[in-house]
Each structure stands twice: as C-alpha cells, then as structure tokens.
C-alpha cells in the first residue's frame, strides 16, 4: 500500500482521537451529545489561518493559543447556555437541541469571520490549505509527527490527570454521580468548568492541525461531527479510554476503507466517504449499543463470573 495514504490515515485518526475524547468528556459531565463540538474545531482552523495569512507566523506557534481560545469559547457556551438551562431543570433533549442551535450560531460566526477577510483584507478565506507552512522530515510532512505527538501526549496527560490528580478524580466522581460528589465536598461547578475548558481546548487544537493537510472551509468543522460521534460511540460514550480507541479506529477505517473501496469497486466509492462513519454508527448500535466498553464488561463478566451493573437499555431520556 502507498505509504502516504497510511500517513494521512494516521494523521486524521490522531486528530479524530482528540475530538472524540472531547465529545466523550462532554457526554460524561453534562450527559448530552454536543453537536457543536465539530464547530469548535472550525475555530481552531481559523486560528491557524489567522496566524499564517494575517500575522505571517508559522501556525504551529498558534497551537497553544487555539487551545486557550477553544477552552474560553467552550466555557462561555457552558456558562451562558448549558449551565443556565440545566439550572432551570431542562432535560437532555432540550439541551441537545440547544447545542444544535449553538452549532448553527457558531457556524455563522465562522463564516462571518471568513468573509471579514474577503471584505476588508482582500484575502480569500473560505477555502484554504496551509501545506506551505509545514516543515518536512525526509519525504514525510511534519504534520504527521506533530499530530501523533500531540495526541499521544494528550492521552498520557489525560491518563495522569484522571487517575493521579485530585481534579481528575473529582471529574470521574462527578461523572458517576454529581449529587454524591457534591456531598463529598467537590465543587461541581469548578469541575464542570474545567472539563468544558478541556473539551473545547482539545477540539480547537485538533481543528488547528487540520488545514496542514486538508482543504478547509468554515463548514469543515461541523462536517466531521458524524465521525466524532461514531468514534465516541464505538468507545461506549462513557469511557475516555474507549473514545481513544474508538476515535483512532474510526479515523483509520474512514481513510483506509475509502481507499480500499476505490481500488476494489472503482473511483465512485470516494463520494461515499462520509457514509462510512454512519454505517459504523448503525452497526455498533445494532450489535452492542455500549460499544467497546460493553464488550469489555461482557468479557470481564465471563471471566470473573460476578455481576456488574446491567446495561440500562430503556433508561429515561
């Protein structure tokens, strides 16, 4: 197989891993699927664009700033909308529709930002590629190493955070049972703020890495939400480690299956690339709705012959 395709698959998969981790963290703490999650990545894309085309600095230096911008954006959304609605006692469905509204709102903001460049600076900003700003190691472009390094570092830091630090343990406790956690003296509000900052930051970071190898537009971020959801669902929706495996698997599968299909069936198969994560999504739901976590728990049950908690199938909303 061609090596460049494999490199591209790994690059995409590691970026999707970051996004899936963020999506899962949101689901763990707020119990809602955040449809605006892909649009955060769009903000990362435009941070990279601004650095490269407006300030004329290498966009790799913009990565920390995109992390912070994504975090702040996510905190603003949490404070203004999600937290307010949760305090009013809105259910999961209402909150999810609110995230859909946020997605449309943020997408429009991104488009306006792109058109601002066209109107005031005479720069074409609605479709761009920043490959020229990338460095090269031999024949391989630098984005491959950078995205792998960032995702591995993130996974290690996250593992350390969730298992060793007080904040991480507090996060896990809040995800399990917010009321019990607050009885134990955990400030749930701070934990929520921290986890929303983390999700937004990771999504924006992943988005900032996209334009190095992919033609990007304001709609790119919201376009990959299906892949993110499929990755998170494969991981079981409620497990960060599952999301790491799931995001990577879906990313690899999306690129490699498209290529395989194009070789075996013909070039027309490339058009159906967005369908691959959707097919995965439906197959996972039909076989094991709790994804890899469900399989893992089943396997453990068989080994220990104990009875862990039953998968709640018809839970309410």
């Amino acid at each position: 197989m061609d090596l460049t395709i494999l490199i591209m698959a790994v690059t995409y998969a590691s970026e999707l891993t970051l996004l899936s981790i963020g999506f899962t963290l949101t689901y763990l703490t707020a119990k809602i699927p955040n449809f605006a999650h892909g649009t955060y990545a769009g903000f990362g894309i435009y941070v990279s664009y601004t650095f490269a085309k407006f300030f004329h600095i290498n966009p790799y230096f913009g990565l920390p700033i995109s992390f912070i911008i994504g975090g702040i954006l996510s905190i603003i959304i949490y404070k203004l909308v999600i937290s307010t609605l949760t305090k009013m006692g809105s259910g999961t469905i209402v909150l999810t529709i609110a995230t859909l509204a946020i997605q449309i709102f943020l997408g429009a903001l991104l488009n306006i930002y792109a058109y601002m460049f066209i109107a005031f600076f005479k720069q074409y900003a609605t479709g761009f590629l920043l490959k020229d700003w990338d460095f090269k190691v031999g024949d391989i472009s630098g984005i491959f190493f950078v995205s792998i390094a960032i995702s591995i570092t993130t996974v290690i830091i996250l593992h350390h955070l969730l298992t060793k630090t007080k904040m991480g343990i507090a996060m896990r406790a809040t995800a399990e049972d917010p009321e019990l956690a607050s009885v134990l003296g955990i400030n749930i509000n701070n934990v929520q703020l921290f986890s929303w900052f983390l999700t937004g930051g990771l999504a924006c970071l992943a988005g900032a890495l996209l334009p190095f190898w992919l033609m990007c537009s304001p709609a790119t971020g919201s376009g990959i939400i299906t892949s993110i959801m499929a990755g998170s669902l494969l991981g079981g929706f409620e497990s960060v480690y599952g999301a790491i495996i799931g995001g990577f698997t879906i990313g690899m599968a999306e690129v490699l299956l498209t290529l395989g299909g194009q070789i075996v069936l013909g070039n027309w198969f490339g058009e159906y690339r967005p369908l691959i994560p959707m097919v995965f999504l439906i197959i996972i739901l039909l076989i094991e709705p709790r994804g890899l976590q469900g399989f893992y728990e089943r396997y453990q049950r068989r080994r220990t012959k104990s009875t862990p908690k039953e998968p709640e199938k018809e839970a309410k909303k």
Binding site: I97, I102, I104, T226, P289, E314, K316
Partner: protein, 392 residues
C-alpha cells in the same frame, strides 16, 4: 389596499400575483409546508416525547419519491398516451432528456386535468407509504435505546440521505437535479395560488387528524408515555411499539410536505433539503410556539416563516449594511432566538393545555376540590366497614 390585495389573491389572476401579492402567496406556501412538518414534530416530540431530529430525512423521502417513482410513472403513462417523449431509461438520458420531456408532459397535463390530479394523489400515496417505511427503518437501530442514541441516528441519517441523493443519479438527478412536471398546469389562474391553497388544505386536514388523535384515548397514552415510560410499561403497554407507530405515522405525514415542496419548485435536488433548514427550523417553530400545543406551533411557524421570507425578499436592501452574505445574519438571528426562547420562555409563547376528554371536566378536577376525592377513598371504605360491624 388590503382589500385590493385580498381580491387579487382570491381571483388568482396571473396578472394580479405580482410584487407584494407574490410575497404573500410565497409566505402562505412555505407556511403551509413547514406547518405540516412542525405539526408532525409536535405530534412526536411535544405529545409523545420522541426527539425526532430527522425531519429532513422524512421530507427528503417525499421529495425523492416524486422524482424517482412518480416521475417515471408519469412518463410511462404520458408516453403510452401518445406523446413522443425521449428515451429516459439510461442514467445519462434520465437527466439529458428531462427538460424536453417535462416540457411535453406539461403541455399534456394542461389538457388532461383528471390525469394530473391522479398523479398528485398517487404521489401522496407513495409518499405516505415510503415515509412510513422510512420511519420504521429509522426506528430500527435506536428505538429501544436512550433518546440520545435516537437523536444521533436520526441526525446522521439526514446527512446520509443527502449524500445518497447526490450520488445516485436515478433518484433525483444527482447534483444537477431533475425538473418535475407541473401537476397544476390545468388550472387557468396562477399556479402558485392553487398550490398554496392545496398545501394549506393539507395542513388543515393533518391538523384535524392530529387533534382527533390527541383527544382520543391514544393521545392520553402518548402523553403518559412522555411523562413516564416505566409506569406505562408497568401497566402492560408496549412502549417501543407505540413509539414506533407514532414515528411511522408522523414520517408519512412529513413526507407529504416534501411532495408539495417539489411540486411548488417544479424541481427536485438534494441540495434543498439541508439539515439546518428542514430539521432545525421546525424545531425552532415548535420551541418558540410551545411544545405540546398545535396553536403554538401555528404561531411559531407563522413568525419564523414571515421573518425568513422578509429577510430573503428584502435581501438587497439589508445587504448594503453588511459585508457578509445575509444568510449568515439569518443563521445568527434564528440560532440565537432558540436559546433565548429556551432560557426566557421555556414553555413557549402559548403554554401547553390539558387534553379534552368528552364528558369529563378535566380542568375542574385539577383546579377545584371535587366531591370524588380518590385519596379519601380508603377512609370511606373503613367507615363503611365500621358501620357494618356496628350493625352486627
């Protein structure tokens, strides 16, 4: 002036439908279309608690059923009637010979009114059946699971249907789209008016169907399911089955909106059925007007449609003040509006009302102390028992 406008619309003369009158007809048409979708959504979410985020896929099925099935039937029948149509069986010829074929078909339908009405009814039937079928298919992976999973499946299906429609040429002509014959060509007046009238009539019919269903015992069942599924299943009701039936029925009704949209535009293409338009706007109407309430849905639909159409019509006047395309301003207004409504008026402009049960004054039972106090029933029974003991 208003009398003049009303007269112009009622007479539906092609000359009278211009300028403001055309705007009113357009608003009426899109109000009719989206009120059907929003009412079906109200039926699903407002009353039964099913979070249907896939209105777009239900509408697109209606549109595709016209372009993929009814259009072929039309061509076959018209060719059999002796009109020299070009060959359309090849995917290439399907698009290539489409404009000339549609032109010939239009001329034929101008003369044969009964056949045109028959095609319209046929497309309604096909859309109802296919819509119900797609409702069943959509329900298959996630209807037993949590609401979150159902939402995710439905929202991805909307994207999937667009991708399939874009790439499978024989459904709706791929990226180019196909023209659809005008089934109202026989009408002597303005075609837009009759379409708006028919759509509003369909909306009215579906309103009465939904209202009747809601005020029947089934409506009470739906509300009970929305409030607590566990209780309902504990008294022996099949929650999954009810949910699936409601989704199927509402899918069929929503598909009819897609059919009317295609006939109004006389053009079918996947690009007109974006998730943002056909899923998000009905949800916005529902939340703005008040879920669980048909009057609220009407109000919400009227407000949103008027706002959207006014922005589109006065596009050039507004455009002067902004450096970006106006559609993004619209997105910002309507996206922000939903969040604002959710925060400041969580029950919508018109709050939900109690169901109508014939013979029972429901409001009185709830708001006043009525003689039948069921909580006091055990005490009454005890007293009775005591009395019988005394007698002994």
């Amino acid at each position: 002036m208003y009398a003049n406008v009303a007269l112009g619309i009622l007479s539906s003369l092609p000359m009278a439908i211009e300028g403001t009158n055309r705007l009113i007809v357009d608003i009426a048409m899109f109000f009719g279309l989206l009120v059907i979708v929003a009412m079906a959504l109200n039926f699903q979410y407002g009353n039964a608690g099913i979070p249907n985020m896939g209105c777009a896929v239900q509408v697109i099925i209606g549109a595709f059923s016209v372009s993929a099935i009814v259009l072929r039937v039309m061509f076959t029948v018209i060719a059999a009637a002796g009109v020299p149509l070009d060959d359309w069986n090849d995917p290439f010829k399907w698009i290539y010979s489409n404009p000339s074929n549609v032109n010939l078909a239009n001329k034929f339908l101008t003369v044969n009114a009964p056949l045109a009405i028959g095609f319209l009814l046929l497309s309604f039937g096909v859309a109802l059946v296919l819509g119900a079928g797609i409702g069943y298919l959509l329900a298959l992976p996630a209807i037993r699971l949590r609401a979150t999973y159902l939402m995710i499946v439905l929202i991805t299906m909307a994207d999937a249907s667009q991708i399939i429609g874009r790439n499978v040429t024989f459904i709706s002509g791929g990226t180019l789209g196909v023209w659809i014959p005008n089934v109202f060509a026989w009408y002597p007046g303005d075609n837009g008016v009759i379409m708006a009238v028919v759509t509003l009539l369909l909306g009215l019919i579906s309103f009465f169907i939904f209202r009747t269903m809601l005020n029947s015992p089934y409506g009470r069942l739906m509300r009970a399911m929305r409030e607590n599924e566990v209780t309902l299943s504990s008294i022996g009701k099949n929650v999954v089955g009810i949910r699936r039936n409601i989704l199927m029925f509402a899918s069929g009704v929503t598909a009819i909106a897609g059919v009317m949209n295609v006939y109004y535009l006389q053009f079918s293409n996947e690009s007109g059925y974006q998730r943002a338009y056909w899923t998000y706007w009905p949800w916005l109407m529902l939340i703005l007007g008040g879920p669980g309430n048909n009057a609220g849905t009407f109000l919400g639909a009227a407000l949103i449609i008027a706002l959207r159409r006014l922005i589109i019509v006065f596009k050039f006047e507004i455009q002067q003040y902004f450096f970006f395309p106006i559609s993004y301003l619209e997105d910002i207004i309507l996206g922000g509006l939903l969040v604002v409504v959710m925060i400041f008026r969580p029950s919508g402009l018109i709050p939900e009302k109690l169901l109508y049960i014939p013979g029972v004054n429901y409001t009185k039972i709830i708001h006043e102390d009525v003689k039948i106090d069921w909580r006091a029933a055990p005490k009454a029974r005890e007293k009775k028992g005591a009395k019988t003991e005394e007698k002994k």
